[in-house]
Symmetry: none
Amino acid sequence: MHPVATTGSREMIQAGITIGELGKRTGVNIETIRYYEKIGLLTDPRRTATGYREYGEDHVRRLRFIRRGRDLGFNIDAIRALLRLAEHPDHPCADADQLASQHLAEVEQRIADLVRLRNGLREVVNCQGHSIAECRIMDALCGDLDR
Amino acid sequence: MHPVATTGSREMIQAGITIGELGKRTGVNIETIRYYEKIGLLTDPRRTATGYREYGEDHVRRLRFIRRGRDLGFNIDAIRALLRLAEHPDHPCADADQLASQHLAEVEQRIADLVRLRNGLREVVNCQGHSIAECRIMDALCGDLDR
DNA sequence: TCCTGCCCTCAATTCCGCTTCAAAGGCAGG
DNA sequence: CCTGCCTTTGAAGCGGAATTGAGGGCAGGA
């Protein structure tokens, strides 16, 4: 046992972080943390003699990773995949790039579609007095096969 | 009633489209079509003598509209409202204008959110690193994930 | 006639990503 | 010791949008 931590070591034995503290540090709800543990997204932490979860800096990092991924719109499975990638730093990053690129493409497509819809709505809103026979909302939303 | 269709008229009486065909044409699951009917999103179609649903081109258009709306992330209620707008392209004033403005604001907000998301992802993709260890995606997600 | 592949209704169930609940026990300050 | 907030568990609930299952009926071709 190391009563005093070696600076920078991942083996540092430090005062365990409680779940509440972890939540505050990462901005993740306590219940969500327990949920992530249950679904195996977060590794099970050590426990104190009385059963309290004790987290370390590695958990803080992992949970921040998860949270950022969620913020970027990745679903749980995608985050699992990204975490697996992150666990193999020697592995080429093409896979990670592929995952993110695909997600980016989806987001860009969605933006393009929404911009079309927005334009249609703007025309409806800016009613200049004459009717819009070919409704742009329809154009934007019916979008035959073009995309 | 028009026994013979006028070209281009949406009043065309044509051989009814079956639900399966409608599903194929719109990319919407048969069960989902029946569900949309149940919740009043899709008007009830005529029926054959034996109770089969018979759809026309107007249903195809409406269902495509719904589908695109769902793809864009609108919930059922929003789509209901958009359908009402689309049904009165010649009457954009007063109530419709209010509804359209509201949707416009929502759509603009959604676009803004997605653009931020996109920018986040753009910073991350096309990583030139050779391994996960040097990968920008991972940098973005974990900062310093070492396990 | 039979077979295959549609179609019908209606209720129950799934999915995702949490969130809430209930009942119990722990810990620190005063 | 009391108070009050912390933590524990498993299970249930939620919202929205479907999807599935059971138990049939219909169409049309070989």
